[in-house]
């Protein structure tokens, strides 16, 4: 177990997000314990593991969403560019670290345009031109612009599931984050929609650090540069995807990869 835990000093220069001895509780029970991990800058890192291993909890600690639930507690540090996000204002943190959820959750009362521009409206009202430009750019980044450009004022809920998820990605990108967290973004989608999103993840990593939780190992193998394997709340192994899948150092990892459990 010790071998695959990278210490904080190593790889610091290329690490965007560093998790240092993080433990997160629901009530009295720790959902993740003592996790230390570094997410490399502008790479895609996948977090895999069987149900209940704590992947969602971990990712929700990264944008301080975990603490908004009832009776939760976090110990440890999460460093964004060497600043502990738990010492900063959570509102600022969430602006820099965006999130896409498992089930698409566009604002149901708003149009497509208003959904994407939502984050812009928080920080004062930029000009209509600037908002337009940002909306188009975000929708293009999310590979949705061509499909909605003729009905940008239509209600967001009129889109299909896959389109709604790409809308949520556009919405998150419009806030201009540095890191994009994705919590099983494709698990509610059909294979075609999934493929579209996996494709756009490959493009997103040029500009953003992407961290994706997935229960689908093949997906991790397809999109991720690095992979972290969690089991029962503990980090078992972390490394370049190719190494983790083909030459895992831990027995547990190998068992999971080869499908012996999970």
């Amino acid at each position: 177990m010790e071998g695959s835990k990278l210490t904080v000093e190593q790889l610091t220069t290329s690490s965007k997000l560093t998790v240092d001895r993080l433990t997160a509780y629901y009530g009295e029970k720790p959902a993740i314990s003592d996790i230390s991990l570094q997410f490399p800058d502008r790479q895609v890192t996948a977090i895999i593991g069987p149900s209940g291993c704590g992947k969602s909890t971990l990712i929700r600690c990264l944008n301080r969403l975990h603490e908004t639930a009832y009776r939760t507690r976090v110990e440890g540090r999460v460093l964004l560019d060497n600043e502990d996000i738990y010492a900063l204002d959570p509102v600022r943190v969430r602006r820099r670290i965006g999130m896409v959820f498992q089930k698409p959750n566009p604002f149901v009362t708003m149009s497509i345009y208003d959904n994407v521009s939502a984050a812009l409206r928080f920080n004062g009202r930029p000009s209509r031109d600037e908002t337009d430009r940002t909306v188009v750019r975000s929708l293009e980044q999310a590979a949705l612009w061509e499909e909605v450009k003729d009905r940008i004022d239509a209600p967001a809920v009129s889109l299909s599931g896959g389109q709604q998820q790409r809308l949520c990605i556009a919405r998150a990108l419009a806030a201009d984050p540095e890191v994009l967290l994705m919590d099983e973004p494709c698990s509610a989608l059909d294979p075609i929609a999934t493929a579209k999103i996996e494709e756009l993840i490959g493009r997103l990593k040029h500009d953003y650090t992407v961290i994706i939780v997935t229960h689908n190992m093949q997906q991790a193998a397809r999109v991720a540069d690095y992979t972290a394997f969690l089991y029962l709340g503990k980090l078992i192994e972390f490394g370049p995807t190719e190494q983790v899948f083909e030459r895992p150092t831990e027995k547990l990892t190998e068992s999971y990869i080869t499908g012996r459990f999970g």
Partner: protein, 386 residues
């Protein structure tokens, strides 16, 4: 009655005649008997039982029972088609259900019937009549429309921000251990009877309004022309304030329920974009809950329109069109409460009841609109919704 032959039960249905007989014996026949007895009793002018039930009650019973009997027969026939598996139960319960509708019809009917005299005297111009003078026997509903509308509007204006603010506080800001106590306290507010609000309003709020609030309003807002006249404290403004206090629980309860029903996913979406608490409420929660909140407001309006005792005690009881918020006034409800017993003759009674009819129809309309919007926020036993 033929006995069933085993070979004919290929479809498992009992013979028609047997079913009909069973139904008749079980449900319809006793019902018919009771209906006949009741009808005869009514016609003969006898009263039933030791308490001397009046004729109307006997008639009511007869009608209900006859309806049940009819349903018994119809149900029996339908039973053959296997659609109503339990004719007696259905019959009884449906009859009671029918009586609810009968009650509604009766209420409107009796008020219409009693308004006849007034309608014959004044016609449709009663609805535009601005004078209410028992001495000259001239009556019109307009002064009370003013009173009702002004007090209700004031009440809504004051109650909405307070109720919505409280609902927002309970669902988002308050620490969890505080939520149920505050909610229970608001429900207690709803349980306080109207007379007690009126009593308290008369002796505690009214002097305060008269000596402190109203002079201040005259001084600073007198230029609006809304606050002319000597401040006495028994006026539309005070009534509006008391009404506001009374409808806050209604609006707050519905708002709280609709806000609590906003899915967590919507709130998390806002939070994950870096929204502050207020921005989350503003962007993710309020738009989602909007129709429910509006429904709650209209429900509150419905309650304010018909509120009687508290208003009667503080509104001033003067049957004239008000000239300012500080004028004495009268709502339709307070009119009925004060003048139905002390009146100048049957025409006035009829006029009062015609005003009541107006209030009834308006309340019904408002209530229908509110229910369509609120869609029955499922709250069993919550006191504040009424």
């Amino acid at each position: 009655m033929e006995s069933p032959t085993p070979s004919s039960s290929s479809s498992n249905r009992p013979p028609l005649a047997r079913v009909l007989t069973k139904t008749l014996l079980r449900g319809a026949l006793p019902a018919f008997a009771a209906a006949i007895v009741g009808g005869v009793t009514y016609v003969q002018g006898y009263t039933l039982g030791p308490f001397g039930l009046s004729h109307l009650v006997a008639l009511w019973l007869t009608v209900a029972v006859a309806v049940a009997a009819t349903f018994g027969v119809v149900a029996g026939l339908a039973y053959v088609a296997r659609r109503w598996p339990d004719p007696t139960f259905f019959g009884v319960v449906a009859a009671v259900g029918l009586s609810i509708i009968a009650l509604a019809v009766a209420i409107v009917g009796i008020l219409v019937y009693n308004s006849q005299a007034s309608f014959r005297a004044f016609g449709w111009s009663f609805l535009f009549g601005q004078i209410w003078d028992p001495n000259r026997q001239i009556f019109g509903v307009v002064p009370f429309v003013y009173g009702t509308l002004i007090t209700s509007a004031l009440a809504l204006l004051i109650a909405l921000p307070l109720a919505l603010g409280s609902a927002i506080f309970i669902t988002t800001q308050a620490p969890r251990w505080l939520r149920r106590p505050i909610g229970s306290a608001i429900e207690l507010l709803a349980a306080v009877p109207s007379v007690i609000y009126g009593f308290w309003g008369l002796y505690i709020v009214h002097p305060y309004m008269q000596l402190t609030v109203e002079p201040a309003l005259q001084k600073y807002l007198g230029w609006t022309g809304l606050f002319s006249g000597t401040p006495i404290g028994l006026d539309l403004l005070t009534a509006g304030v008391i009404l506001a206090i009374m409808i806050v629980p209604t609006i707050a309860a519905v708002s709280r329920d609709t806000l609590a029903a906003v899915p967590a996913a919507q709130k998390e979406a806002a939070l994950s974009l870096g929204a502050t608490d207020w921005e989350t409420i503003h962007v993710a929660m309020l738009p989602y809950a909007r129709s429910g909140i509006i429904g709650g407001v209209i429900l509150g309006l419905g309650r304010a329109l018909g509120e009687t005792m508290a208003v009667t005690m503080v509104v001033g009881n003067v049957d004239q069109i008000p000239t300012s918020l500080l004028s004495h006034g009268q709502t339709i409800a307070s009119l009925i409460a004060t003048e139905l017993l002390n009146n100048n003759g049957p025409l006035q009674i009829s006029a009062i009841l015609e005003c009541g009819l107006v209030l009834l129809l308006v309340s019904l309309l408002v209530n229908v609109v509110a229910r369509l919007l609120v869609w029955r926020v499922a709250k069993v036993g919550g006191g504040a919704i009424e």
